[in-house]
């Protein structure tokens, strides 16, 4: 289906996809905050939020209302334009990257096969890395615009950390592209559905990618830009109300984005073990539903890992972070690329 053949249907279907994906992500983000608080409570022998609604299930709504109705304070000493811009830059890339992530097997709508990805780009993964790196500008600008010492320190740390780990992130997936020969995320998933999940083919790349993803999303043990024990609240010290909420949503949306990326690149996307693409196709549109549930299960499980790790591992010291990145992960990632290349030599020549 293309725009030139059926313009109205094309626009309608794509709008529907955009609305569904955005809403699913934002709801998951809201409940990830609740999950974070609940899981941390359980791990510390506490109960966690349980007053708003049964089991605290309406807590995200209460939180959102609180953020909406708070006074929107812009301190007098900040650079106003950048101060207002920064939260938007922090949030938007995390949402934009979801455009290239395939979430389910194709759906048949009125005789047309619709791929369940908003933009099926041939260079999907490059687009994704390019856009997701922009998120660091949000953090750095917030630190700069706040015009006070703790946010600035947070911003400086964020830039150094994210630039360093961007490298490992990119290098770890190079192996996959060498083996699959494509940059389209849809193709990568399809290859895994009919073959073996990439996490078994590229275990080292998998581990490096996961570690780098923690650093890229500023989550513990790499949450140095925030580092509430040393930097008050890091880059968002001066922020309040909805602007702070945007940083917050941005962090969880980035978590969702990277969880989805791990699922797509390494855990077979919507694949269920022992199901091939024919099995999915034979189920018709129900195949897409099953696939979507499978995909979301992987994403949510990975988001749980994020939360789980946060409440287990203490923060790295800054030099340890850089040592780990440049002296450990980078060489391993490079060696991994070479080894993957050697394994794939017969295929290429």
């Amino acid at each position: 289906m293309s725009f030139s053949e059926e313009p109205l249907l094309y626009i309608g279907v794509n709008l529907a996809k955009i609305i569904i994906v955005t809403h699913v992500v934002l709801v998951v983000c809201a409940y990830a905050v609740l999950a974070e608080r609940k899981v941390s409570a359980w791990m510390q022998d506490r109960v966690g939020p349980n007053r708003v609604g049964y089991f605290g299930l309406l807590q995200p709504i209460a939180d959102a209302l609180k953020f909406f109705f708070k006074e929107d304070i812009v301190p007098g000493h900040v650079n106003k334009a950048l101060f207002v811009l920064a939260p938007a830059i922090a949030l938007m890339p995390s949402l934009i990257v979801l455009a290239v992530i395939p979430i389910a097997p194709p759906v048949v709508v009125m005789g047309h096969t619709v791929p369940m990805v908003i933009a099926d780009l041939d260079i999907g993964i490059l687009f994704l890395f390019a856009i997701s790196s922009l998120a660091v500008y949000g953090v750095v600008l917030a630190g700069w615009a706040s015009n006070s010492k703790y946010p600035l320190l947070g911003g400086v740390r964020a830039s150094a950390q994210m630039i360093s780990y961007e490298l490992m992130l990119g290098l770890s997936v190079v192996g996959i592209f060498m083996a699959t020969g494509t940059l389209r995320l849809m193709d990568i998933v399809n290859l895994q559905v009919d073959g073996v999940w990439n996490c078994f083919y590229h275990p080292i790349a998998f581990i490096i990618f996961v570690i780098a993803a923690f650093a890229e999303t500023n989550r513990l043990p790499f949450d140095l830009p925030e580092a509430e024990t040393e930097l008050v609240a890091g880059y968002h010290t001066e922020y309040g109300s909805m602007k702070f909420a945007m940083f917050f949503i941005g962090e969880y949306a980035a978590m969702f984005g990277f969880s989805a990326l791990v699922a797509v690149l390494f855990l077979g996307g919507w694949d269920i073990p022992f199901m091939s693409s024919e099995t999915f196709a034979s189920l018709g549109n129900w195949g897409a539903v099953v696939g979507f549930i499978s995909f979301m299960t992987k994403v949510l499980a990975f988001m749980f890992l994020y939360i789980w790790v946060r409440w287990t591992i203490p923060r790295f010291r800054y030099d340890q972070l850089m040592n780990l990145g440049w002296k450990v992960l980078l060489p391993i990632a490079l060696v991994n690329v070479i080894i993957t290349g050697l394994f794939n030599l017969p295929k290429g020549s």
Partner: protein, 174 residues
């Protein structure tokens, strides 16, 4: 000179770091299924032992008579001087007794104040009282809108203390 403590050398397995991380993750995962130790405060409350030192209160005996004879020993011993007693006479024109007159008892407090903003919960008043009329209760929620509210008067103190039923009946058969 301080003592130099050599840092333990890590084994190669520990240096790998990742197995240790996994071990830690297992630890926190197990912790998730343990029973929580927090109380749901307004509904659930902590159970105290009898000798818990909460807010002091005056008690009445089994027959509803006030035990305090306003000897003022508690006022005298109170370290922060939180207690103020105005003694009164039982019988006669200025009778302060609320119940029937007991001819063995000559005095009762006309007014009895404990300033809870001064009280340090030391329990000396309970210890010193010869009539066992004042006790530290397990009440610990003290709050008020004004300072005056936190100066407990006689009525409030009896409300906190209530009636104490114990085996001693001092005035029985007298």
């Amino acid at each position: 000179m301080g003592k130099v403590v050599e840092r333990k050398k890590l084994t190669w397995f520990q240096e790998l770091y990742l197995p240790q991380v996994v071990q830690g993750l297992g630890m926190t995962f197990k912790q998730m299924f343990k029973k929580e130790i927090t109380l749901q405060y307004p509904e659930e409350r902590q159970q105290f032992y009898d000798d818990y030192r909460g807010a002091p209160g005056l008690v009445k005996d089994q027959e509803g008579r006030e035990k305090c004879v306003s000897c003022q020993l508690c006022e005298y011993i109170c370290p922060p001087k939180a207690i103020v007693i105005k003694p009164g006479e039982i019988g006669g024109p200025d009778n302060v007794a609320e119940t029937e007159v007991n001819e063995n008892v000559e005095k009762a407090p006309k007014e009895f104040f404990i300033d809870m903003l001064r009280c340090i919960y030391c329990g000396y008043c309970e210890e010193v009282c010869p009539e066992e009329a004042i006790f530290m209760t397990s009440m610990y929620e003290l709050n008020g809108q004004t300072r005056a509210e936190l100066v407990h008067d006689k009525d409030r103190l009896y409300e906190i203390g209530g009636t104490r039923v114990d085996t001693i009946q001092k005035w029985k058969g007298k």
